[in-house]
Point group: C2
Chain length 424, copies 2
């Protein structure tokens, strides 16, 4: 396959998409029970193939080591027994989630006598492009299938052997439930031309979701002719307002930074009202420094936190994804919101306040996917929000914004129920 | 302006977008009453400037005539007194619509104690690219403003004088309500480089809506780096099922085709169950031929309607936008839905049936923006659906699908209300 010509690869991906389209029509007609059965069967089948999966993963690991891939990638690539357990649990959990498809809302009778409402429906065919973690194969496929979509998976080339075993189990699960195996297909070539082919299939592929680092997502967004849900930076802010409860402010600001460093909902910049900086910043600075967090502050921060380094313009708007925090003292809530509008990435921002009016202003005027009052930014994910599962976090404004669960993999169509009405 | 260099034009459009972005932040904080006041003031101001508007429109008409533009375009360009009345009424009607912004849904308490819901919010900055009809300037700007968005308008170059008068009245209305005039801006150059500039402003422009013919929309979709809501073809189908009430079937099938020919929700292909063709097609054919509709049928159609011409493969999937109808006799509902899936454009399809199970299958399995039972496809528009106003009809699946009203110009963000919760 790796010696196939680009034209062959384009043709092959197109053939897969046509088969996926056909399968998606069958899924439209499928019962919830059949889709759930497919997921449960896939979990059982994969359980029965753990040895084969382990061997495939060993092959991937050996190949990655001989290609001298870095240790972080090797870690993501490895399927430990615990990770396989999690993957199987995930399939069963998705089966247990409520079916989003078919729900009808806002059905109203119009003056003409027709009744008009909106029905939730699958998108059709979804492409998922991801990097080294093979468990994404099962996670992403299960969410697409549950929501009635056919999926074309393009995993990291380093995980190809592992992904093949997992995708085959998903397809076999579909077959056991009487559904079309083409509802879950894995691109089998390592050639990058397959990604370009997938991104060009307007009208056949309804949505592509890239999961990976910023460079992957930017490349895919730039190239795609099909719609893309993307997640760029998470430059999250916490603003400690004048009069905020000091214990709450410290607890949230410390948690938002230090509970995990590498996640997109981790705070990267702390904004603090000038009236609170003198008292709270020294307390916070000690907590951060004890935790090993490097501080980069504005001038007013440096005046009360001598251990901090001076922040440069580049620090505002930086997603550190590590134990570094920028700190800015602001005049008031307007300055805080202006700072966020200028440097934020629209992911998640929180205010710590005791003032009702300012809590409402922050909720309304901050233009981010998640806006919080008196809670840690670390709550911004699909499980904490009750979506049941998460296929990613969107920093787009259209269609799906913030944590994306099953609903983000669906659309709504209008349904009209008449009794013979015609337009006059 | 028309002699400005492309780089100047790009810079100028970018400057407009930056001003729009600033205005959109003010709109986020604005009261519903202020936005309504701006709309009502704009209507009053424009009423007071009817003479100036009429003179500007005469200039546009003279220029169009001297450029030998066709009569259909001249008709769309002309602002008659009645059209100005409609435009002013439209502004007042939009002011009277409920404000979509700020609504919170699905607020739920999570096990952590945080409450999570979704708040409806403006998109930010919207670009509207349209052709000759100057009343779109007021219609589109009013919907954007009502929904809390700043708008950049790019009208047809032939309507520039008229559009300037209308856009200035909108900006003056904003100023009278204490809002930023930059919330409604009109691109003042006729140079097409301005369109390209607008389409390239990722991060500054949140959405572009092209309104016009297919070629305009395809060009814009191909070029845009910003999100686009588009409306391509309306190849709408009516399927007359076995056992349908014959009077209802005839009434709907005739209305869906002949009530208006040039609209996107007009039926272009009639599908009829083989058991009904013998009895109903001759009745229908007479009604269509009396109305001057040319029929193009499949072989089985020709057998019962000798006046029909033979349809070619190109007829299926053709948007005639005129008094032509293709007719296909199908074996059953599965054949009908397969035909729709193959040739339809995903706009609007209707079934006429007396069978409960098949009505539900059609509603569920037909993948179109509007799916109807026992009603004419001509109902598929924003006014008939109760949206109050319509900025277009989307044949996209993501974000906004079908008739697009105020809700389609908004997004939702997550709001989280806590009492100091941190993540453990």
């Amino acid at each position: 396959m790796s010696t196939a010509s680009p034209a062959d690869i384009v043709a092959e991906v197109r053939t897969m998409a046509l088969a996926a389209r056909q399968a998606s029509r069958q899924l439209l007609a499928s019962a919830t029970a059949a889709r759930n059965q497919a997921l449960l069967a896939a979990a059982d089948i994969l359980q029965g193939r753990r040895d084969a999966l382990s061997e495939a993963n060993t092959l991937d690991m050996q190949r990655a080591q001989s290609n001298a891939l870095d240790s972080a990638l090797l870690d993501r690539l490895e399927l430990t027994a615990a990770r396989v357990d999690d993957m199987l649990d995930g399939l069963r959990q998705v089966a247990a989630l409520p079916d989003p498809v078919g729900a009808i809302r806002d059905m109203r009778t119009r003056p003409s006598g027709i009744r008009v409402g909106k029905m939730r429906v699958p998108l059709g065919v979804i492409g998922i492009i991801y990097e080294s973690r093979p468990n994404v194969t099962a996670d992403a496929a299960s969410l697409c299938l549950k929501s009635g979509n056919a999926v074309i998976l393009r995993g990291g080339s380093e995980a190809l052997h592992s992904n093949r075993v997992i995708a085959a189990a998903m397809a076999d699960g579909l077959a056991m439930a009487g559904l079309d195996r083409a509802a879950v297909q894995l691109i089998q070539t390592r050639d990058r031309a397959a990604v370009g082919a997938l991104l060009g299939l307007e009208g056949l592929v309804d949505l592509v979701i890239p999961r990976g680092g910023r460079s992957l997502i930017e490349r895919i967004s730039a190239e795609a002719r099909v719609p893309v849900i993307k997640h760029l930076d998470g430059v999250c802010h916490v603003f400690i307002d004048e009069g905020a409860d000091p214990d709450m402010a410290v607890a949230i600001a410390v948690n938002a930074k230090t509970q995990r460093y590498g996640t997109c909902n981790t705070m990267e910049t702390l904004l603090i009202h000038q009236q609170e900086a003198g008292e709270l910043l020294p307390v916070l600075a000690k907590a951060y420094l004890d935790a090993g967090v490097e501080l980069r502050g504005c001038k007013r921060t440096l005046a009360v936190v001598p251990d901090a380094q001076a922040a440069t313009e580049a620090d505002w708007g930086m997603e550190y994804l590590g134990p570094i925090l920028s700190v800015c003292v602001v005049d008031d809530i307007d300055s805080a919101m202006s700072h966020i509008a200028r440097y934020g990435s629209g992911h998640t921002e929180a205010i710590v306040t005791s003032d009702y009016q300012r809590s409402q202003r922050f909720l309304r005027e901050v233009d981010s996917a998640s806006v919080m009052v008196n809670a840690s930014t670390r709550f911004a994910d699909g499980f904490e929000y009750g979506l049941g599962a998460e296929i990613g976090v969107s920093t787009d404004k259209l269609h799906a914004r913030g944590p994306v669960g099953l609903e983000g993999l669906t659309s709504e169509k209008y349904v009209v129920l008449g009794e013979g009405q015609i337009r006059t």
